[in-house]
């Protein structure tokens, strides 16, 4: 008779587990690669909507450029959040994740990383192209890209907290928006501010280092918040 001891169960370390989960999520991203393209197109469309709405004076547009691109990035990241946990929740995978030996904050981090790879990186690559449409110049474009690169992980991390909290609630989509948009305002202000500063010849260094600090902060804190939120949502 086998004693139900753990001895004969092959236990994988946390690192292996983390990579395993990340790999599964990236596989899913790959399967749904149309999604990544869609994020980009959404991003471009939203950016293009603005000139239509507010009129097309080039000077005005150059003024707005950074802000509009940032707002659009924020919205694109927001819209893709429902991919983070909702599907796993509906099909029961989330229960399996909770039962996994991997510490929940690490699970959260793996999922957020996959999400960022699928949305943050495309946004970062696209941002300068859109910035050009608004007549931003070399320096402004560089700062815009750097800002988006630093800012999108923050958006994904903070978004994950909101997504986890609203799991299974009706109207989750909008509720998430409601919860996290206010939290993301600092990112927006810093990101757009950096572009403005660069455009007007002032250095954007301060803005960018603040964004970096924000990233480090959320990277440390958010996974725990997500873990707690997941436990609550599944009870």
């Amino acid at each position: 008779m086998r004693e139900p001891a753990q001895a004969d169960v092959v236990l994988a370390g946390d690192g292996t587990l983390f990579l395993g989960l990340l790999r599964r999520d990236l596989l899913l991203v790959y399967r749904r690669r149309a999604d990544a393209v869609t994020v980009l197109v959404f991003f471009s469309i939203v950016v293009s909507l603005f000139p239509l709405g507010v009129g097309a004076d080039p000077n005005l547009l150059r003024l707005l450029g950074g802000g509009v691109v940032w707002v659009a990035a924020l919205l694109a990241s927001l819209l893709s959040l429902n991919r983070l946990f909702a599907a796993d929740h509906a099909d029961g995978t989330l229960e399996q994740i909770l039962l996994s030996p991997l510490p929940l904050p690490l699970t959260a981090l793996a999922k957020v990383t996959a999400h960022w790879i699928a949305t943050g990186i495309p946004l970062t690559l696209m941002a300068p192209v859109l910035g050009m449409q608004f007549g931003l110049d070399g320096d402004g474009l560089l700062v815009l890209s750097a800002g988006v690169l630093l800012g999108t992980p923050v958006l994904s991390l903070v978004g994950a907290v909101g997504a986890a909290l609203t799991l299974g609630l009706r109207g989750g989509n909008l509720l998430v928006a409601l919860l996290i948009l206010p939290l993301n305002i600092p990112v927006l202000i810093l990101g757009a501010g950096a572009v403005d500063a660069a455009q007007s010849g002032l250095g954007a260094g301060a803005h960018l280092s603040l964004l970096g600090a924000l990233l480090v902060g959320t990277l440390v804190g958010a996974p725990f918040a997500v873990a707690a939120a997941l436990r609550i949502s599944l009870d």
Partner: protein, 206 residues
């Protein structure tokens, strides 16, 4: 050794059950019985640690499972109504992913073989989205062929399966028990499972 100590479960204003106490030795098959809505699913989720009891404790190997959550969860497999199958992945990818998640990573060969045993040999390259209800269930259940965890919690595992698949699953559970494993399960259609020790846990009459 699994021990339930005067467990109680409350949903809304309704007390589903209370004062449930029992001890199960390794090798025991426990069928949780009861009409629709008496709390079978709720009980299994509670044992798995997915929700918290209104009162009572669950001891595993003498340890409080809530306090020693990590150690406990490393020993159990839970398969609920929703089976955690990803629509976009094919059966092999699904099985490998769910095993990896439970820290029991398996080779692709082992995954193929397990799925073949579940009768999915011809469907290994299809997205699970297009599988039939029973086939999806089989993908989820293939996990049981490759796990070595001692405690199985199965919520209506026989649902949607055809008679052959039911038999195969019953056989798998039988072998698990013979090897000293333990299994709590629910079902509305009685299925004969080979077990040296088989008990019923009957829930409420409401």
């Amino acid at each position: 050794m699994l021990e339930l100590k005067s467990l109680a479960c409350v949903r809304g204003e309704r007390r589903l059950f209370s004062g449930i106490s029992a001890r199960y030795a390794p090798g025991t098959l426990v069928r949780v019985c009861g009409d629709n809505g008496t709390g079978k699913t709720s009980l299994l989720r509670l044992v798995a640690g997915l929700s918290e009891p209104a009162a009572g404790q669950i001891l595993w190997q003498g340890q409080d499972s809530q306090r020693e959550r990590a150690a406990f969860q490393r020993d159990l497999v839970y398969l609920g109504h929703a089976s955690g199958i990803k629509d976009e992945l094919d059966p092999v990818e699904n099985l490998m992913a769910s095993s990896a998640l439970a820290a029991e990573g398996i080779e692709i060969g082992a995954a193929r073989q397990a799925l073949g045993e579940m009768g999915l040999g011809e469907r290994l390259a299809l997205e699970c989205k297009v599988l039939s209800a029973g086939q999806r269930r089989r993908v989820a259940l293939a996990r049981l062929l490759v796990t070595r965890k001692p405690l199985w919690l199965l919520d209506e595992p026989f649902n949607a399966l055809d008679p052959q698949a039911v038999e195969r699953l019953a056989d798998t559970v039988g072998r698990h028990l013979a090897a000293g494993g333990m299994c709590l399960y629910t079902t509305h259609q009685p299925v004969p499972i080979r077990a040296t020790q088989s008990v019923e846990l009957r829930l409420g009459r409401n």
